[in-house]
């Protein structure tokens, strides 16, 4: 499977698109995975190989390794007797270089926060009450 990896920027564009499509549709799932990329970019040879007499063979690499981050939706097929529509699988991935990890995850958090808007908001009513109390106490 020689699928091209996206650049980090393209990945975020696609990811927000995927989350947005999910929101518009009103239901669905988005899967995100992250894993160490233990292969060179042409997927021919692993960077680290298992050493028989060293149980900790993969825990002390000489250089930091990149990560691969994948995103996909859940494919759905049309089913009789339900209003479910057929939907194609969407998947894409990106490789994050070690020096870009902090930047990547900062943006990742923003995109996720914006895209996962259907989750429960904080209960505002309680908070307001607490604030009033605090103000009173402060005065």
């Amino acid at each position: 499977m020689a699928r091209e990896h996206l650049s980090n920027d393209e990945f975020f564009t696609n990811l927000s698109g995927l989350l947005e499509a999910n929101r518009k549709k009103g239901h669905g799932s988005v899967f995100l995975t992250q894993k160490r990329l233990n292969f060179s970019l042409d997927f021919s040879t692993p960077v680290l190989t298992k050493v028989a007499d060293d149980p900790l063979w993969d825990t002390h690499p000489e250089n930091p390794l990149p990560l691969i981050v994948r995103a996909s939706n859940s494919k759905s097929t049309k089913r009789d007797g339900s209003d479910r529509k057929a939907e194609a699988k969407v998947k894409f991935s990106t490789v994050v270089q070690p020096d870009a990890i902090d930047r990547f995850f900062a943006r990742y958090a923003e995109v996720c926060k914006a895209g996962m808007s259907a989750m429960k908001k904080r209960d505002r009513t309680k908070k307001k009450k607490d604030k009033r109390k605090k103000v009173k106490a402060g005065v």
Partner: protein, 165 residues
């Protein structure tokens, strides 16, 4: 495998697992935004009705409402360890993705972000280096960065926990 009740616990155990098996472990985050199936709604309604027959079924909790959750799963196929945490609170998303970043640093074999967890770092690293050195003598490791031995300890701890559950 049961879910952890706090995200901090999930993060701690996951980072131990990642230190032990950084190459095989993968983290999956699933954002699921689902309308419950009609059978589920029917079941829930029936349960509600059975519980409180006097109160009408359209009370505070609407079973038909959408449910959006974020599930984090750390899975290592080699040892079969699976650590999960689930939340439905939007306020947690940012923090959880931040912890994914922290775990990402373990995966990439970068040193821990010192500003993020100074206390934790100093606590776990001290014994790690010692045991790492002793290993160096026996196994002939060329380089010990402190991380590997923490992993070994983490693995043992994790297994113990598994047994309890």
């Amino acid at each position: 495998m049961p879910y952890f009740t706090t995200s901090a616990e999930w993060l701690e155990q996951s980072s131990l697992l990642l230190k032990a098996r950084p190459t095989t472990t993968k983290i999956t985050s699933k954002y699921s935004f689902l309308a419950p199936s009609s059978t589920k709604i029917a079941k829930q309604r029936a349960r509600l009705a059975a519980k409180a027959p006097t109160i009408s079924s359209s009370s505070t909790h609407d079973p038909a409402s959408l449910k959006a959750t974020l599930t984090l799963k750390t899975y290592d196929p080699e040892s079969g360890t699976c650590l999960k945490y689930q939340t439905d609170k939007a306020a947690e998303v940012g923090r959880l993705v931040g912890s994914l970043g922290k775990l990402g640093r373990h995966m990439a074999a970068l040193p821990e972000d010192l500003s993020a967890s100074v206390e934790q770092g100093s606590g776990t690293n001290t014994p790690a280096v010692e045991s790492g050195v002793s290993r160096e003598g026996k196994g002939g490791l060329v380089e010990v960065k402190g991380v590997p031995a923490v992993g070994a300890g983490g693995g043992a701890k994790k297994k113990k926990k598994k047994g309890k559950k």
